[in-house]
């Protein structure tokens, strides 16, 4: 369960990073396009700009949503990792029983020796 969740997080992070890698290239191609200079096309250009801006903002919002989602999953994963599991319980119980077993062994040995000397 934990493994599957972490794999999903890794996938999301991977695709997010890939999509972010493409961002500079799109900006570069947009910059390479020769800008039309005539004043008659100015309103059209403005409209284009607004459209591009809208698209970029839309993408930004989507990315932010996904980032928030990933962050939430990460905190959940961290919380799950911090919770003590069955392994810790068994380790602790084993430690306690072993400790008292060792004490019992030594005290028994001492008494055995005392009995033999007596």
């Amino acid at each position: 369960m934990r493994l599957r969740k972490s794999r999903r997080v890794v996938h999301l992070v991977f695709w997010l990073s890939v999509s972010m890698l493409t961002v500079p290239f799109t900006g570069w191609t947009a910059g390479q396009q020769p800008a039309p200079e005539s004043s008659a096309q100015a309103p059209e250009r403005q409209r284009d700009c607004a459209a591009v801006l809208a698209v970029v903002e839309e993408q930004n919002r989507k990315l932010q949503q996904e980032l928030r989602h990933i962050k939430r999953e990460l905190t959940l994963l961290n919380q799950n990792m911090e919770k003590p599991g069955i392994r810790e319980v068994i380790a602790g119980v084993g430690f306690i029983l072993g400790l008292f077993g060792a004490v019992a062994l030594f005290s028994l040995r001492r008494r055995f020796r005392a009995d033999r000397e007596a």
Binding site: V93, I96, L97, F100
Partner: protein
Amino acid sequence: MHIADGVLPFSITAAGYALTVCGVGISLRTLHNEDLPKIAVVTASFFVASLVHLPLGPTSVHLLLPGIVGALLGSSSFLSITIGLFLQSLLFQFGGLTALGANALMMGTPALICGWLFRRIRGQTRTSNAVAGALVSGIGTMMAACILAALLMTAGEDFWGVARVAMIAHIPVIVVEALVGAGIVSFLYQVKPELLIPGAASG
């Protein structure tokens, strides 16, 4: 109910450690070899009981069992609780190693008092034993909460609110502990009554 690292001032931490060492020394002094298995089992139960979480509104609280540990172990309860808290801080990240002394003091003192009280009021019948177990469990938790609040108050005025919240959060725990304590004591009285006599050889 654990105090985290770095909350308490150094003097309180050191005093807690010193008193804990004294308590463990007393426990070791009064230790009987025949009681070792019982102490081991009670310590393990105490260690695991803190994982039993009761959902309570936005937060959750967990069982503490100082009263029952005291009732079962008497003067050896301090040793048991110190070992249990040490392992909890190592494995569960409850509290911390520097605050271990204060935490052991907070849980061990009620256990000692409860053990003494339980022997005084337990009586001879099963009902009176169960009632005594419930009472002792509730009082033990209440005392632990009071000591926690007092320790937090020494940490500064910022923790007054925290102390109050801790006190309020432990009211349901006291009720649940009393029920659990009554159940455990009445069961043990029926199945193995000699377990309820602290310090006596349990065969």
